[in-house]
Symmetry: C2
Subunit: 289 residues, 2 copies
């Protein structure tokens, strides 16, 4: 269990948090905001490796993106949950603020901009005005690292404020994203989910039988118990025509009697049900009845 300042309450040692990307990545910034500054953040190349690191206890937690307000759900994370024994321990909603980072001091000397394709896309308007060559890389913070290591002139990268700090570079422009409403919801993953706080959320994946009104029937156990849903999404199952996976989040903890009953009822009408975990709701999230 994480205590104040990111120390493990049981052992007193620093908590290790795995994230995907280079040092300075948005996932690392979100980890430090969520768990506190006094943790050890461990970078991994892929989301799969982050899951493995937590499964193998190289880290107590992982912090993985699950949805972005512009790009939508991160299907890859859902897919990893299907195969993994890990559960959701927490969530945090993180405002993505892109910076233009360079060793140059004057923005007019920037001729090339490096970043992850998604970040380049999210700063499209700014970049069109700038009129530079855009070079795609596999990571936002990784681009800053490349610039630093190669000491590239006339080049800039799009990444987090933290990346500029970590690699000792200049921030030439801030908030360069086209849509200021750019939030990523991250999930903290661990070997167990979290304890009940009274202000919790539960995430599940389920599939329905091929019968009329399947989804409506699946939602009935929640509706009749006045359980609030906060997210629903259907996704066709590859190779199984007529079948869908549903990603559902609802308010409440799975140990509560009402939730237990609802999940039991849902299971009867589902071909598949996996409870990903119960965890305290992020403050910034908006929720609907």
């Amino acid at each position: 269990m994480v205590g104040i300042q990111g120390r493990d309450l049981m052992t007193g040692s620093r908590v290790r948090v795995a994230f995907q990307g280079e040092v300075g990545a948005y996932s690392e910034e979100a980890s430090l905001t969520f768990f506190g500054q006094d943790i050890d953040t461990l970078p991994y190349r892929t989301l799969t490796e982050v899951f493995h690191a937590v499964e193998n206890e190289e880290a107590e937690y992982g912090l993985v993106p699950i949805e972005n307000s512009i790009e939508g759900s991160v299907f890859q994370t859902y897919d990893l949950f299907l195969e993994s024994k890990l559960m959701i321990w927490g969530e945090t909603v993180f405002k993505v603020t892109h910076c233009l980072i360079s060793k140059e001091k004057d923005i007019s000397s920037v001729k090339e901009v490096y970043s992850h394709p998604q970040a380049l896309g999210q700063c499209r308007k700014f970049l069109e005005r700038l009129g530079c060559t855009l070079i795609a890389s596999y990571d936002t913070a990784g681009s800053v690292k490349i610039l630093k290591e190669k000491n590239l002139p006339n080049a800039a990268a799009i990444a987090s404020e933290r990346a500029a700090k970590v690699y000792g570079m200049n921030i030439l422009a801030r908030n360069i994203e086209s849509d200021p409403y750019n939030y990523t919801r991250f999930l903290a993953i661990a070997l167990n989910d979290n304890e009940r706080t009274g202000n919790d959320k539960t995430s599940i994946i389920f599939s329905t039988k091929h019968v009329p009104s399947a989804l409506y029937k699946a939602l009935e156990p929640f509706a009749k118990r006045n359980i609030n849903l906060t997210k629903i999404e259907s996704r066709p199952i590859i190779g199984k025509p007529w079948e869908y996976n549903f990603y559902l989040d609802f308010e409440g903890h799975r140990v509560e009697e009402r939730m237990k009953e609802a999940l039991k009822e849902l299971e009867v009408n589902s071909t598949f049900l996996k409870v990903l975990g119960s965890y305290p709701k992020a403050k910034e999230l908006v929720v609907q009845s």
Copy 2:
């Protein structure tokens, strides 16, 4: 109305279809597959311009992406429908097949790869093996155009087979996408939606009141009439905490009595309802009860 070979049945003239991107874009390829080869395809820079072109009758139809099996929903298209009087006239599901295109004949001479950030991301595994510099551009086919115009040596682009043909370039590799299950669903938009064929679908956007079981109640009118849903997705409304837009597709045409009743009932329980249109179902789509 489109007849055989993409001619307008009323006037006999060639049908004009607006799409987003450069000549050779996947949207253009999908337009030719859907409407037939004997149409005039008109390229526009943005999706907003495609909507305007159809509104201003520069084109009879537009073909716009609505969801991709990897990237998820195209929220921008949904947003444009909210503001537009245009309706959905048809749908088509298009398999995205990425090619590596170059003036070079030997893949080993390729040092730089240009493409749209999403296409670069979708070919990540192939590109990692290739080990080139990746340069992001605003368009897949546009990258091929740049290569052609600048006569760039040691450069390749990722785009459609059609783009290679249009710009007279070589295809060095095909099917280079990491996930072979890469489908984009396109919507044909027009001033009107389509006539009833007996095998139709209807798309709507609605918002629910902030009351318990709002979504369940919203689905009841469909469930009790055994109307099959084929897509559901919740999306938080920016600036309106506790409120969501729902994107819903269901089987049936809005002129059918059963659908009319269901939509009327839904309207009573919604704060907002917009019917985007009814149209013949794409053959390739899989559908669930």
